[in-house]
Amino acid sequence: MPPLAQRNLFHDKVRLAVTLTGIVFSVVLIVVQLGLFLGFTTATSNLIDHSGADLWITSQNVPYVEQGVAFSERKLYQVRAVPGVADAQKIITRFAQWKRHDGSQESIQVVGINVDDKLERPWNLVDGRVEDLKSPDAVILDELYKQKLGVSHVGEVFEIGHFRARVVGFTHGIRSFTTSPYVFTSFKNAQDFTNLREDQTMFILVKVAPGADLQRVRRDILAHVKDVDVLPTAQFSRMTTLYWMFTTGAGVAVLIAAVLGLVVGFVVVAQTIYATTMDHIREYGTLKAMGAPNSYVYKVIMKQAAISAVIGYALGMVVSIFVVHGSEKGGAAILMPPSMAGGMFFLTLAMCVGAALVSINKVTRIDPAMVFKG
C-alpha cells in the first residue's frame, strides 16, 4: 500500500504535534495515577507482605494493621501449642511520637519484633545490621525519612515517647502509606516506646510447618485461642489495602484521575484525527470513487491512529520513566512494573483506534459523487 496514511499524518506537523502531545499527556497521567495506585497499595500492606508469616493473629474485628488492639501475650504460648505451628512471634505495630533535635515531634509507627527470629525483620538494609537492634534503645528506619525525622547518620540519639532511641541502621524503600514512617526496634523497646504493658502484644505472627494445611492450622488456633481473629497473610494484606484505598477514597481518587487521563487522550486524538480526516475528505471521496471499498479507507485511518499511538506511547514512556525515577526519593512511590508498561501500549493503541472510530463514521458516509463537485 502506498504510504498514504503516513504521509497524510506527517504532512501537517503542527497537528501531529498536537496529537502526540495529547497522547503523551494521557500516557503519563495514566502511568502516574496507576503507578501511584500501585505504590499506595504496596505501601499499605508492606509490613504484612514482608512479614514472612503465614497467619496473623489479631484481636477480634481488627480491620487493618494500623488499628491493632492490644491483647494478652499469654496467647502466644497457646498458639505455639497448636499442631502445625512451626513458629509464632509477638509483634507490635503502634503509633508513637518521635522527638527531633529541634524539639518538634513527628508521628511514627513503631514496629517491635523478636530480633532473634526471622519474622517481620526490616528488609533492604543499606546501613547497619538487623542484629544491631539487640543493643539497647536501638532503632532502624528508612533513609527516605531521614529529613522528616531530623536524622543524618547512624549513632544519633533521639527520643520516642520519653525513651531514648539510638539509630543503628537505615533501610531503603520501606514506605509507610500513612505520613508516619516505620521505626523498627526490639519488642521490649517497642513496649516502652508505645506505652504498652509488659504482658501485652498487638499481633502474633505464625509460620506454619512445611506440609501442614494452612486452613486446618487456622481452624485449630481459633478453637484453642479465644477472642482472636486468625487471618491468612494475604487476606489481612487485602483488608488493609482495601481499607486505605477504598474506604478512605484515596484509591478511588487516583483511579478517577487515571480514567480522566484516558478520556482526555481519547478526546484529543479523536479531535485531531477527525480534523486530519476532514482535511483529506476529498481524497477519501476520490478513493471511493476509484472503487476502494470502505475497508480500504478504514485501513488508512486506522494506520494513522496506530502510528500516532506508537510514537505517542514511546514519547510518553520516556517521560514516565523520568517521573517514576524522580518519585523514588519522594514521599509517594510511583511504580511501573514491566506488565504495566506493556499494558499501557495496548491501552494507548486501543485509545487511539477507538478515537479514530469517529472519523471512520464520517468517511463511511462520504458520498463519492462529491468528487464531481469543483
Binding site: 504532512h11 472503487g291 476502494a292 459523487a369
Partner: protein, 247 residues
Amino acid sequence: MQPAIKVRDLTKRYDEGAAGNLALRGIDLDVHAGELLLLMGPSGSGKTTLLSIMGCILTATSGSVRIAGREVVGLSQKQLPALRLEHIGFVFQGFNLFPTLTAAENVELMLDLKGVSGGKAKRRAEELLDQVGLSPKSESFPADLSGGQKQRVAIARALAGDPQIVLADEPTAALDSLTGKTVMEMMGRLAHERGRAVVIVTHDSRVTPFADRIVRIEDGAIAPHEETAAVPPGVLTQTAQPALGLI
C-alpha cells in the same frame, strides 16, 4: 458487439415524491468501445448526474444501465465500488491527485486497489507514466507539477486499473488551450488506439473536434435531434482553430 455502456429509459429523481427534483428523464444512450463521446449542455442540465450514474457512483431512480453487459440499476451501494474498480476509470476536473504522494505513488495507489503491489506495481506505474510522457516526473509531488502534467498523471492513474470505460468530468476546464489539446489528444488515443469507451462531460467547445459524437443534454433529457456527429478528428473548422490557439 454490445455497447460498453447501455442506458435505457433512465430517470433520476433527487428526493422522494412528486416534489422531488427530476434530474434525468427517459435517457436512452449507447456508448461503444473505441468511441469518444462528449456530453454537453448548460449547467444543471444533468450531464454530471448522467456521468455519475454511468460511473456507478449514483444510483438511478428507474430505467436500465448496463456496464460491460451487466445491469447495475438495483445493485446495492456495497456492490458498486467493485464494479467501478473493475470496469471504470475516472478523470476529474480538479485532477484529484493525492498531494502527499508522488506521481508514481498516485498511480500505484490504483494498482494497490487492484491487488498489485510491491515491485510489480512500481514497474507498471513507471510504464503508465512513460506512456503519458511523464517518466522524468515520476518522483515529483503534485504541487511541483503543472496543470497539464497533473491531468496526465490522473489519466495514467485512471488507466492503471485497465478499465474498459473512461469517464472524464471537465478534464480541460483548468487547463490552457495547448495543454487542453494535449490532454484531449491523449483521450482520443485512449478511444481510437486502445479501444476504450471514453465519455467526457464538458462545457469547453474547444474539445468538440476530438469527439466522435456529441450528445447535448437539456433539462435532464437528450436534446431532440441534436445528437450530432462531430467533425472527424483532425479536421478543424475555421472557428475552432483560434480557440485552440493554433493560429
